[in-house]
């Protein structure tokens, strides 16, 4: 509302609207373009002759008879068995979100309700842990995982992702729990509840907005991860992102690039839907950390 339209001169107004419009195009156009192009053949999507081919699909019509072809999708999902990767991703995301929320809520709640000095140090340690590049940690896992035969399977990856996710989850839930008045669980304790009963009966019913927001970010971390999943999963257990990366290795043969394009679009679709439904939560989550900072 601040610098709102009141007596904004016309020139400035045009400038600011067109600036936002340019940004919108920058942000959205690549996705639209790739979605459109994923239904074309490679010679149209990468058109040396004429860029309008990518829009009209001249070669696609010549080869397939129609302007749209689902060959890329068929190749990726059926021939290259992308559906297996999609199922693996679903399993990984589900378990990562559930586990990290369960242990994260307990930890974040404890941090927000304990007034002792060590909570500060724990939060600081979590901040440092968050800053460490995942690949640096992965190089520490490989040798023990090989020796104990834990490498390559989904449960290992899930636990690792949960752990890597914890620092962020703790920070976020900590700040959410601090907004819930302490009087609530204090009065429950006065009435004779133990701390855990107070948590279960009083806090759990009111914590869901914060937990859902944190869960969204846990989901995004698990869904988007490439560093951990590409290193810790065997080829047959791959999730979607490393699977897409493995398509790239074989780009030489014609059609394979379109498999990658189709699978990229397929993997982006759930994220679109997520943003559509949870835009408010994502925005509030991004800013929740900032309030503390």
């Amino acid at each position: 509302m601040s610098l709102s339209s009141r007596k904004q001169p016309l020139g400035l107004r045009i400038f600011s609207v067109s600036f936002v419009a340019v940004w919108l195009i920058l942000a959205a156009f690549p996705f639209v373009w790739t979605l459109w192009g994923s239904f074309k053949v490679e010679l149209d999507f990468f058109s040396k002759a004429d860029w309008t081919n990518a829009i009209t699909g001249a070669r696609t019509i010549a080869e397939k008879g129609t302007a749209f072809t689902a060959d890329g999708y068929r190749g990726a999902w059926v021939q290259e068995e992308f559906w297996k990767a999609a199922i693996n991703t679903a399993i990984v995301c589900l378990f990562v979100v559930c586990t990290s929320l369960t242990i994260g809520t307990l930890g974040g709640y404890a941090l927000s309700r304990s007034g002792y000095r060590y909570t500060f140090w724990l939060l600081l340690a979590a901040l440092i842990f968050r800053a460490i590049p995942q690949l640096a940690l992965v190089s520490g896992y490989l040798l023990p995982f090989f020796q104990w035969n834990l490498w390559g399977i989904l449960p290992t990856t899930i636990i690792v992702l949960v752990a890597i996710n914890q620092p962020f989850t703790l920070w976020m839930l900590h700040s959410f729990f601090q907004k819930i008045p302490k009087d609530l669980d204090e009065s429950a304790k006065v009435d004779g509840c133990t701390q855990f009963q107070a948590f279960r009966l009083v806090i759990i019913p009111v914590m869901w907005p914060g937990v859902i927001t944190t869960g969204l970010f846990s989901f995004l971390l698990a869904y988007n991860d490439f560093q951990v999943t590409s290193m810790l999963l065997a080829k047959e257990n791959q999730t979607m992102v490393p699977k897409i990366a493995s398509f790239l290795g074989t780009t030489q043969t014609e059609g394979n690039v379109m498999f990658a394009v189709a699978s990229v679009v397929s993997a982006t679709a759930p994220l679109f839907i997520l943003v559509m439904f949870f835009q408010r939560q994502i925005v509030s989550g991004l800013t929740a950390g900032a309030v503390k900072g």
């Binding site: 400035l12 990468f46 307990l106 490439f226």
Partner: protein, 341 residues
């Protein structure tokens, strides 16, 4: 909350972080001090009808026994850190002696993988972080003056570059700037040079990666600043207007000071994230021209020969880098905390 209750509440998450974040850190330090065993050779005399020959073969059993006995490998001390793939101490010293100017010295040093990766990582971090803060702020101010109904839509599309998987986001842009893609051929047409390829030159590759970095992380800065603008103190702004402050002065003396804590927050998060830049290098297939510290680790770990010790040494150096980066923040937080209590 009592210590004991706190302990039980915090135990699961503490265990997860100890086992999978703290212990791996110990593990990379120890691993980086050992190298893989060399294979054990044995010499056998083969006597056939044409006389005896000495043959040297790999003693598989002895090698396996050695590996089982000491799975960590052979003690190497700081040797791995000093070798050509990491700090390249001897080579750098030689370069220092042989080169007569700073420029020549730096260009020699940047040939070593660790230093070239460090150069790209730091450049990426220090270029992308301020640019995305500036762009994010500009978008936030622009969106804030839009009509109410448009805001939601704009925010939806603005979130996309940030939400999308970094590897996928960079692939989408990579295909567009391919010399046969729409942006690539557009740039060729613009500069009237049919052979222009963004992938061929180091400078253009760096710029391309940084443009991707800004595209990817500006939405985060935008959302945080936009939320900050909603809490702008109206009375301060109004008094500034009454005092005759121009629009620019209002932004300079009211809005920016109000958002300053958020700028620190965004800068901190962005520096942490940009320091571990990795996925765009894979997505843009740019490793010939630009490597980052994370990419070196990835490269060492992957492939047929998993060079665990080399990767561990780079990891330790990376973690030290993170510690140096974070140290001002940590010192400040510590001081604030001590003042408070």
């Amino acid at each position: 909350m009592k210590h004991k209750t706190f302990f039980w509440f915090f135990l699961p998450t503490a265990l997860a972080m100890l086992l999978f974040i703290a212990l791996p850190l110990v593990s990379i330090v120890t691993q980086s001090l050992y190298t893989a065993h060399e294979q054990v050779f044995k010499t056998v005399e083969n006597c056939g009808p044409f006389g005896c020959k000495q043959e040297t073969t790999i003693d598989q059993e002895a090698t396996a026994a050695l590996r089982d006995e000491k799975p960590m490998g052979k003690w190497a001390g700081a040797q791995i850190y000093m070798d050509r793939g990491h700090l390249a101490v001897n080579e750098v010293r030689a370069a220092w002696r042989s080169s007569d100017s700073w420029g020549a010295f730096l260009s020699q040093v940047s040939n070593f993988p660790f230093y070239s990766a460090l150069a790209f990582t730091l450049t990426f971090m220090f270029v992308v972080t301020p640019l995305c803060i500036i762009l994010g702020f500009a978008i936030a101010v622009g969106v804030n003056s839009l009509h109410r109904h448009l805001k939601g839509l704009v925010i939806f599309f603005s979130l996309l570059p940030m939400i999308v998987t970094p590897l996928i986001g960079s692939l989408i842009l990579f295909w567009m700037i391919d010399s046969r893609g729409i942006l690539g051929s557009g740039i060729q047409w613009l500069f009237d040079d049919p052979n222009l390829s963004l992938k061929a030159s180091t400078g253009l590759t760096w710029i391309m990666l940084m443009v991707y970095g800004v595209w990817h992380s500006a939405p985060f800065a935008f959302v945080v600043f936009y939320a900050g603008l909603q809490t702008l103190p109206q009375d301060t702004l109004e008094s500034a207007q009454i005092d005759g402050a121009t629009r620019w002065q209002q932004i300079r003396y009211v809005v920016i000071p109000h958002l300053m804590p958020l700028v620190t927050f965004v800068a901190l998060i962005q520096m942490m994230d940009n320091f571990r830049v990795f996925e765009p290098i894979v997505g843009f297939n740019a490793s010939a021209h630009a490597t980052s510290l994370s990419w070196i680790i990835f490269n060492d770990l992957g492939g047929e020969t998993r060079q665990l010790s080399a990767a561990a040494a780079t990891s330790v150096l990376t973690v030290i880098g993170v510690a140096i980066l974070l140290s001002p923040v940590l010192v400040r937080t510590w001081r604030d905390f001590n003042e408070k209590t």
